[in-house]
Symmetry: C2
Subunit: 340 residues, 2 copies
């Protein structure tokens, strides 16, 4: 129904190739008069080039695929993903690419679904926080689709952008330690995700290296959700010997933990210091505003686009880039109260 290049050709009694040359301004020249005629006719008929047909022959779509993490529900509500996606979106726009958001890869092992990634619709893909069992990454790697793993597990042979989780956790722990805290707990994230694993490990190492005794009951799982952080803090507060500070593996959990303290009448940072991770926008809105580890997530998103485009062009891309986090000290951490 929409007008095609053929319609123009027929109307003007020229060949389709001539029309194509005229419209694209190449790769061969056409006489100025013909060019003019073609352009006029195209405008007249409301011609729109069909990108699918073009993709078909050029093999390029100027589109990048985004594969969200394998979390089942409401992925797009994760502040982390939102920051990354925003960075990716902005960068993609600048380089004239659109984004395809794959809706059905999360958690699905179905072969049929997996294949939608490499069905020609995208030139490359960015995987957001994939874990090492993510079948889609594995498949993409196997089929040599240009792809970048953003803040995910280190997967053999896949280009990876990651944040130095160890550094971030050490910064947070050092900050609390220097304030005088010795009984420091940790609310961990989903332990099937790389970030969560590394943050937990760095916590353990810090405690051991500084000869701080710590119990299993001080390490809780919060699933990266506010409710998880809330529940975790509740059980920490029920302990006979309470920790004086807690580092959460993301801001959402820290927010939940803060809520638990407020409900139980435990003052923050007076009786309990709380430190978050990620510096999402919500972390600045709480009372008190959260001390948190800033990660340049948006930057990483931008960089992911650059890398994937380089990969598509065949330019060299470093196998691994690590971004350094920094500590943002706000008001949810302070010296512990003297032992009574």
């Amino acid at each position: 129904m929409p007008t095609s290049i053929k319609d123009i050709a027929k109307l003007l009694n020229v060949s389709v190739s001539t029309v194509s040359y005229a419209i694209n301004g190449g790769p061969r020249t056409v006489s100025p008069e013909v060019r003019e005629k073609v352009l006029d006719a195209a405008r007249e008929l409301g011609y729109r080039p069909n990108r699918v047909a073009k993709s078909m022959v050029t093999g390029r779509s100027r589109t990048i695929g985004i594969v969200p993490p394998e979390i089942v529900e409401d992925v797009l509500l994760s502040p982390y993903l939102q920051l990354a996606l925003n960075g990716i979106f902005n960068a993609a726009g600048k380089s004239h690419h659109d984004l395809v958001l794959f809706t059905r890869l999360a958690g699905s092992g179905h072969e049929e679904v997996l294949s939608t990634i490499l069905d020609g619709r995208v030139d490359g893909a960015v995987f957001i926080a994939p874990n090492s069992t993510n079948r889609a990454v594995l498949l993409a790697k196997e089929l040599r689709i240009p792809c970048i793993s953003l803040a995910g597990s280190e997967i053999d042979g896949v280009h990876t952008l990651s944040v130095a989780n160890e550094t971030g956790m050490r910064l947070a722990m050092r900050h609390l330690f220097d304030l005088g805290h010795r009984r420091i707990a940790h609310i961990a994230g989903r332990l099937d995700m790389q970030d969560a694993i590394e943050r937990l490990r760095a916590y353990s190492e810090f405690m051991t290296n500084n000869r701080l005794a710590y119990h299993d009951s001080w390490v809780l799982k919060g699933q990266f959700h506010p409710d998880g952080g809330y529940a975790a803090m509740k059980s920490l507060l029920a302990l006979p010997v309470r920790p004086t500070a807690v580092v959460c593996a993301n801001d959402d959990m820290a927010i939940g933990a803060l809520r638990a303290c407020q409900e139980m009448g435990v003052s923050v940072p007076g009786e309990m210091s709380i430190c978050g991770f990620d510096m999402t926008s919500a972390s600045g809105l709480t009372i008190p505003p959260l001390t948190t580890v800033f990660q340049p997530i948006a930057d990483m998103g931008r960089h992911a686009v650059k890398s994937v485009l380089d990969l598509i062009e065949g330019n060299p891309v470093p196998k691994h880039i690590t971004f350094e986090p920094t500590l943002v000290v706000r008001s949810s951490t302070a010296c512990p109260m003297m032992e009574s």
Copy 2:
């Protein structure tokens, strides 16, 4: 390079059509033996159907386009958009569609860019909060691309999903009025967006209908941004006769306004009641948590997908659906203090 249906056909000495029938299980039957052989060979060769080629001939891509509002920067950080996008994403996944996010339509009037919408990559599109000068919607409408306008201006001939802004604003105003407030201010959004316009109008109407005097200095523009809300509240607080309550056209501005009050030592809700709009997740995290107007944005996103799919299928779709908001009373609103 990747194996195609032809490779399988050649290998097995059958025709491409037979291979196609075998793989798709139709529309014609193939003998069980051949079917088996084809499927085996496909697996063996790592065959992946090329979706672009399929789109080419069927004219369907099982992909829905998303057109963000024409805000220039960091669109994806808007909580409103995030809620809508999440709803759309979930619904699209359920109906086996992927999403393409158009990165370059915002604010761009370039014809070339506009045409990327209707280049065959998507079967239909959802426009998020377009205003009436949005050229992309107009074009899509003109070219009869199935499309839905989500919470945007009413545009002639375009299917629209909207929220009853008047009702929402009236609920908020009535709530404050019943608490005893008479001097009620309004911090408006971007007045080039439909929601902002309607909320402002409903505010004016309520004030007039209830014979409440109000000044131009009580109606401020906050651009839907926290900083805008902050600045607006600052100028309200500088007024010789302060209002006792303010309704903001979204939560972000309410959060900014709250921050301004806290900085100036104005107690909320003691000296100033603040009401938000949208019920984004952040609105529950502030101290005090915001009273706000809940809009079923995620629901609307889901519904947008359903409607656009119906439109694609040729099913009848109502021209206009309105969703009803409700008031969520939390702690940022209370009776005004007695005049001193």
